[in-house]
Amino acid sequence: MKNKILLPLLTAVLPLIALSCGTNAHYIQTGGSQSVVSTGYINIQDYIQAANEMTGKLLASGALDRVPNPPAVLAISRIVNNTDQQIDTDLLIKKIRVAVLESGKAMTTTTMGLGGTAEDPLAQGLQQQNAQTIRTPDFTLSGKIIQLYVKAGSTSQSTYSFQLSLTDPRSGLAVWEGEKEITKQGTRSSVGF
């Protein structure tokens, strides 16, 4: 009697359970609380959080306001990747560039780069051709991304340190410095904060 009830019930419920375990591909908010969190990698929400916090501190410091002809002109210098991952540092820097441009406090030059390499070679060529006066950057932005990894039993922990320095090239002094550390701990990757 029991089997007669249980067997069909299990047959009906088991596929439901199996189906509910998987997740169909769907859109989520970039960097939102539904994002995948992994200890071994820098996730998109980590870049967004680091960029958000450091931009806020940079703007609040007023360092970008201390230029003779505002808005300030920024040039991007070396961003060192000291993690074991191959990362595109623009995931951090571009967000900061967009934010400072939107704030109206600074603009970034795309015709000047480390070792003479311009981000926009066409604009650089046209600028030189037209013999336009090239405005010297008021500041250079350099930085480093560092990873610290430790493990205790099956629990792993990664700390990612995002460091930035804003330097006045005339004096060679860092007029603003920012650091944001993000630590993640767990035994495996998970979905959600």
């Binding site: 609380s33 929400q45 958000n52 703007l59 704030s103």
Partner: protein, 138 residues
């Protein structure tokens, strides 16, 4: 055998309950020199449990030297358990239009049982006049 199982279950339950309890003691100067500019706030609560564990004590704001609005919120966990949560600042201009920024982030955080702490954020542009902060339990 039954007694053993019962004791094991009770033990595990006690461990689970006591293992999650946290508490925070603190000390600060009694005579404050800084004056906070408190902001009258308007709240929309749909998660009563979160409103208790991440309760909003007060909101204050200041204009930075560069003309950016900086908002600070004091939170208090009235329970004895740590509460993981995330928060998200939204900014609005003088016309009430939301100003979305690429760097607008959802910040994961944890407030310990009985802890009183602050969170803060700086507006992305000097045009921001108003704000809203969303809290979600993790």
């Amino acid at each position: 055998m039954k007694t053993l199982s019962f004791l094991a279950v009770v033990g595990a339950l006690l461990l689970a309950i006591t293992g999650c309890k946290t508490s925070v003691n603190s000390v600060e100067n009694a005579r404050k020199t800084g004056q906070r500019q408190m902001v009258p706030d308007q709240r929309a609560v749909t998660d009563m449990a979160l409103a208790r564990t991440v309760s909003i004590v007060g909101v204050n704001s200041v204009m930075t030297p560069g003309g950016f609005l900086k908002v600070q919120i004091e939170l208090l966990n009235t329970s004895r358990s740590p509460q993981p949560f995330s928060y998200h600042f939204e900014w609005f201009d003088a016309n009430g239009m939301q100003l979305n920024s690429l760097t607008t982030a959802e910040f994961p955080d944890v407030i310990q049982g009985g802890e009183d702490r602050f969170i803060s954020s700086v507006a992305p542009t000097p045009a921001c006049r108003d704000f809203r902060v969303k809290f979600i339990a993790n």
